[in-house]
Amino acid sequence: MSEIVTELVQTRVGKVQVRRGGPGGPDAPTVVYLHSATGEGEGLPLLTTLADTVDVVAPMFPGFGESEGIEQIDDMDDAVFHLLDLWDVLELDAPVVVGLSLGGWMAVELATRYPERVGRLVLVNAVGLYLPGAEIKDIFGRSPGEMAEDLFADQDHPIAAAMHAMDALSNDTTRSGEIPFDLVRPIFQTMAATARLGWDPYLHDPKLPKRLWRIDSPTLVVRATQDTLVPAAHAEYYASHIEGATLVELDHLAHLAPLEDPDRVAEVVVRFARGDA
């Protein structure tokens, strides 16, 4: 497994964390990973696996992890300009961009506006659309335990189990004070940052569908078949409205597929990044 190093990079909104790793050299494609509302990145096995064969760049969005500047970002428009800024600072020309959920939405927004800055696009269980009859389930008002049912196929996964444990604690009024604030703080911060981008309209951009035609990079749409947070119609819509896009389904996985089976997701991403599929 390859080493991942974390550096702080100065952007216009403040310092942001960027995790990097990989073999380097002219043959290794650069893959940018945009995280979901979960803020995954620290110790994420997907990154070390990817770094065996590609150069991984995983920025933490402002408001997530130690990254500063969320107070200067009010909406997805600001988010895209932040990415553009980051691309320049990191001297990324047109990398492969992989986005999970919220990160997928950001990747699509970037690719519709600045298609020349996205070499290849991989959307994993991406949000960003409103499809009547196939609404994205609520993420802002439900308990961790309820959320875990949508996020993980295996409820015994350590993170899913921890989410259920938080429910058990908060439902027990004699013990609700026992939930450590250090556990609550990152959830609170990541959800607050996500709310800035996706509270209203809820996790979508009404203007996105009429702009999808502008994406000209090869695109892979990945859908985990047990993702009950984002209905299948969303992946199907992206796949059928982005020119030449391919849809791949991963069975036995749910919304946070890259956390649950990093090897399988990495394999799909690497093959596509190399232009093999």
Partner: protein, 391 residues
């Protein structure tokens, strides 16, 4: 001190079988207009009665899409009260400023009430409860910014000659020129209710408004909250006046302690178990991290967690008993909180009309005069060591 009768206007008809939240997603099929037309009129009568009984004022407040308090527009109720009363203050605590777009509407309606009542309005501004951000799809991340801008717009509209312009981040008004203007000059007294967030206290301290401690916590949480507010005033370079703070609490008076509990307890539990569930939902970004950490210290003591009557009495979640008991417990709490305004909830949950009226009558005849005498306006209220002694 000043004593107010506060009405939540709760919906008393949730079925026994319903165990969901009273907020945001509580099905509106459960609202029966046959009940509604009775209780709205009854509740207004109870508020009007307060003037006859000698209260200093009444309070109404704003909540949306819920059974806990069916006053989405407290301004409508205040307008009715303005016509039906002549002397007492009418406190609207408050209008949830970020929910009005543009907030010019609040400046207009409050000024209307102040004119209608011949200068008796107390203007409350509130950020709005967590559930309201779900019910209105307003971004909670912008709650504080919108509140601050809306506040500036209203004060500008009331105190500076129009037409003028206000260009902010969230509101852009090329012609700000509200009619009518308020009777009270430069503007009506302003109250800000808060649930313990530091930002709110600092805002109130800065502007020298009054901070109303919102229920429903253990008394030690209130002691801490009002102490934090006084500290915030000290940081602004002045000592808070007791009239700059107020405490809201359910009160029930009967002839004896036993009778009071027997008449009151089931109605109190309807409020705790039917109407409070869902009130604590906290949208992300609505509170700063430092406020959340501070508030979490008291969260376990929020009334929705109450299980037994002993807990209610011990934590002073409601002041219930004979006139002597109620006076003693209120005196004890008030002197340890240092609050110069008492906002009593004399109707709660399913408490019926007859009991509510008798409660108001007994309180106003047996307790209120003693409180007025014990805590005269213009004198200090806080007695730091008062809390430990009395039971």
């Amino acid at each position: 001190m000043r004593i107010f009768s506060f009405h939540l206007m709760p919906y008393p008809g949730l079925p026994e079988s319903y165990d969901g939240p009273a907020w945001v997603t509580c099905p509106n099929e459960l609202f029966d207009p046959a009940v509604g037309q009775e209780i709205y009129n009854r509740y207004i009568d109870e508020l009007v009665y307060a003037e006859e009984l000698g209260f200093d004022g009444v309070c109404v407040n704003e909540h949306h899409q819920n059974a806990y308090g069916i006053m989405p527009s407290p301004n409508l109720i205040a307008a009715a009260l303005a016509r039906e009363t002549n002397r007492m203050k009418i406190a609207v605590v408050g209008n949830a400023l970020p929910l009005y777009d543009p907030p010019t509407r609040v400046a207009e309606e409050f000024a209307m009430i102040d004119n209608l009542s011949r200068g008796r309005l107390i203007a409350g501004f509130v950020v709005g409860g967590g559930p309201e951000y779900y019910s209105f799809s307003i971004n909670p991340a912008h709650a504080r910014e919108r509140f601050a801008e809306a506040h500036d717009i209203i004060l500008k509209a009331w105190t500076e000659p129009g037409p003028q312009e206000y260009i902010g981040k969230h509101y852009k008004l090329r012609f700000l020129n509200t009619w009518p203007r308020p009777v009270q000059q430069p503007h009506p007294e302003i109250w800000i209710p808060g649930a313990g967030s530091l930002e709110t206290m600092e805002f109130v301290a800065l502007h020298r408004y009054a901070y109303m401690g919102i229920p429903y916590f253990h008394r030690r949480v209130f002691e801490r909250t009002f102490g934090m507010f006084r500290d915030a005033c000290e940081r602004e370079g002045y000592t808070a006046d007791p009239l700059q703070s107020g405490w809201l609490t359910p009160i029930y008076v009967a002839e004896t302690d036993e009778q009071a509990r027997a008449e009151y307890e089931s109605h109190f539990w309807y409020w705790v178990r039917k109407l409070l569930p869902g009130i604590t939902i906290t949208p992300p970004g609505y509170t700063s991290v430092r406020s959340l950490e501070s508030q979490m210290k008291g969260a376990g003591t929020f009334a929705v967690n109450l299980q037994t009557w002993d807990e209610v009495v011990e934590g002073r979640y409601a002041i219930v008993g004979s006139p002597a008991t109620v006076f003693r417990q209120l005196e004890d709490c008030i002197s340890s909180f240092g609050t110069g305004n008492l906002l009593g909830l004399f109707q709660l949950g399913t408490l019926p009309a007859a009991e509510t009226r008798r409660n108001l009558e007994l309180f106003s005849s047996e307790v209120m005069p003693r409180l007025h005498e014990r805590f005269p306006v213009g004198h200090p209220v806080l007695e730091p060591n008062a809390s430990e002694g009395a039971a």
